[in-house]
Amino acid sequence: MGAPPPTTPTSPGTTPGAATAPKTQQSYAVKLRQMAERVSTLKELVSQTKIRLNLLKESVLGQTTAASELVIIQDNRMGSSFRLLAYRYLLDGKQLEAKSDLSGKASEKGTRSIYAGPALDGVHILTVEYVYRGHGFGVFSYLRGYRYRIRSSYRFKVTVGTGTTVRVIPFERGSAFTPLKQRLSVKYEKKTSTLSLKRDKKGRVKAAGSKK
């Protein structure tokens, strides 16, 4: 089904040996199918070997393969004198998320999930960059012309078999007498939890059998 066919002329048979083309095409298609099957079998065999080797490695090193989950949350607690224009999150030098929203929508208060997924166990460095704009009304409307950039890094450790949550909190420190530039600050909160699973009424893990 679909749109009606066009009415313009079609290509004349310019290709030499066009009559034999379907046969050749079929033979290539058959070859491809057979080969794909061979490749698929080989892939499964190699994968099985890799799994067995990994299990062997576990027993030799005395280490177990276990999940380490990392969650990074942005909790913007900056005061009303600033509007967040852009941010960037890097984990071990690789960008996790970046947003530049000059209309100031990025300045929404509250939490925002930056990353939730697997992480290798060991030490990691989270680098954050924020660009803020000053904000004020009336006689203070000149503040809107100011731009402030903060860059901060946080070193933390992910332990195997645990869930680690890092909450990044940009906030305003000091008092009304603190110069604007010095008020911008970032702090981090880290929580570690043991991994668990949610089960449904039948006692099955919820993620099971999700259709592709």
């Binding site: 190699v46 994968s47 099985q48 991994l195 699973l197 993620a207 059998g209």
Partner: protein
Amino acid sequence: MTRKIHVALALLLIGVAGRPPEAEARRSVPEIKRQLKNVEGQLAHYLTTIRPPSRKLTKRQRLKRLIDGMVLYRMKDYSRAAIVLMDLVTHYKGTPEASEAAFFLADSMFHQREFVVARSYFSQVVTEGSGNKYYQLALQRMLELEMRRAAVLGKSHTADPIRMQQVEALLQKIQAIPAARREPSVEYVRGKYLFFRNRVKDALTVFAGIGTTHQYYLQAVYFTGVCHIKQGRLNAAAAVYKQIIDKVLFGYFRPKNVTQRRVLQLVIIAAARLAYYKGRSKDIQRAIEMYNAIPRKSPYFDDALYERAWAYLKAKRHKRAVKTLELLQVANPKYGKSDEARVLLGNLRIQTRDFAGAKAVFRKASRELRPVYRTLRGLQRANLNPKTIFAQLTSQNLEQFDIKVRLPKLALRWLRKQPDVKRAMMMLGDIKAIRRMITESYAIIRVIERKLTSGSQVASYPTLAVARARAADLETSLLALRGDTSSHLQQILTPNATVAERYKLKQLQKERQRLERLIQQAPKSTDAYKKRVGKVQKLFEKVDSDALVQQMRIGQLEKMLKAAVSYYYRTIKTQRLSKALLEANAKRLRSRIAALKSMIKMLRGDINDARTGVGIGDAVMRYEKQLRAQYKKVLGRLQSLAATLASRLSGSQRQKKAVLDLLLARMAKAQSNLDRVNRRIDSYLASKRAEIVRVLTEEKAKLVGYKVQLAKVRPESKEVVGGVAMQNFKKVSEKVYQVLVKADVGVLDVVWAIKNLAKGRYEKRESTFMKAMELLKAKYREPRGVQ
């Protein structure tokens, strides 16, 4: 390896240097006796309790492992999930954890596109029967696998009668489950499978049985319509779709999630297509309304727009059709049918007499496609080598293939969209994955072999590691007791010794004290060993985190270089630096950065290796063992000296010496027991090691075989994929030709339309003029006629 030892020794020396040497502890003989008894007791206990290491997990540990596997599965880290789950499935058969793990293992394999293994584990779950919580889901997955197989093999998938019998058995198993207990997804997949097997009637029965409250109700409705269409009952299909659309419109049914909303959109588009094919003006109007109902964010929005334009065309609302296609151009310039849409837009502009616009559209299309077509024709005539197409498809190093003519980007894009080419690319992806897995497997083998040769293998077996640490601790205690006994012995011997012998005794005492000081630094209990290991691990972590900082800095340098080069090329007109000089500098810097990157990678690898090597039996413990051996030698020398001095002793001194000799003999026995403990640990380790080496040799041999197979497959794949691409290349060439002809004809159409319009206008004016002339003639003839 040596680097690891150095690092460990350095760390130990830091610890040694930080502590003041302790004074020589001297115990009384009764105290030595009491403590020796204690050591002997502990040794006897160890001799009876040491067992070969077993990696059998307790129920709690199995559950923890299952959770790990499932969490990895949930995080879509299927390859690691498979490792954890495979362990449970293969080593703990019959346990509830293994039974649960089997389904997740199969599903992990399924997601990794390892369908044969996945099928075997799903069937394992199915064999367990309905008692398994995942029984129905496994049945569902097995049917899905069959559908995949059918999609790949086409009609020939039914050629294997045994397999078909197995599938029938699966279907019967699903039917045997009471309808009320049947999983929604299982029922839906069963219907879908029957549909793909061309058992449309059976499929219709299954889909009809899926009620409105069913999770897959909308999908079932969609497939019911498709079944009707397949049977040629278009009105019935339209009625089915109308019914559900009305239900949604009147609020009797509300899609609950994104999937349902998408399926509803598919239903609407299908209904619109049916209405379009009916062709009556009210049907066309209805089709337009339905196409309008597809929201902007829908993945089917582009298709709906394109088809809506055709519907407007059929309704002769050309201006609307033009607006729709213009909107499509803006909404998605890379739309799959954009070239067809472009030609249609040109034709529609002719209809709306926007000749300039039409001409612009056709000319642009013609201008863009002509060089593409010429190149393609040239390539066809020059008997293009399939390997050339292969190289370009996979964007390989083109110089390697001596390619002079490159395929146009547009042609490559269209080529990659061909189903056969897509399948071929998928196979190439699999070949790439095989290569990667083989490389990773060899890396794992290297790690295992390094560990086996490092000598710290005992740390991998917690029970043996504890026993070894305890043995070391007991040996230290025993040596301390022996040292004290030797001190008492030396006290008796010294008065009867000659000057030379006294000097020798003093030297031995000094050496003994030095070694004692060093030995005393060793931990006194298993917990102390663990603490020390933790401390060293922390130091390694710090070193690794510093290395990570350096790695990030190198990454930044690379980015800076990239940015600088990019800036240069953007502002090349204003740059004084020559291009050659910049490229030479950039190349030099790139190679330096690459060297730094590989260096830091290696360093981090070494740190990681050294960290994993820390533990019981590590380099520090081996050093301590050496110290104990040296100490034993010193004590041995003292005892042999005592034997030579024994004849010079007085009666009371001899009595004292006899007591001490007895103690020393007991200590020697204890030492021999201790050696037995260590030998037993060593023998267990050796048997484990032999087992590991056996498996490793087997897997290595297998890997060699796989490498050979891969080496055979790779050149063949180039030919087959190239050949498949070549066949499809002709199709693409034809498609380019068709669109080009349409564009050229369009330009002519525009000219004809302008000419026709001008001719029409001229004829109209001429006829108006003739009419006016006739009128004038009549007007002036009349009075004359009257006269």
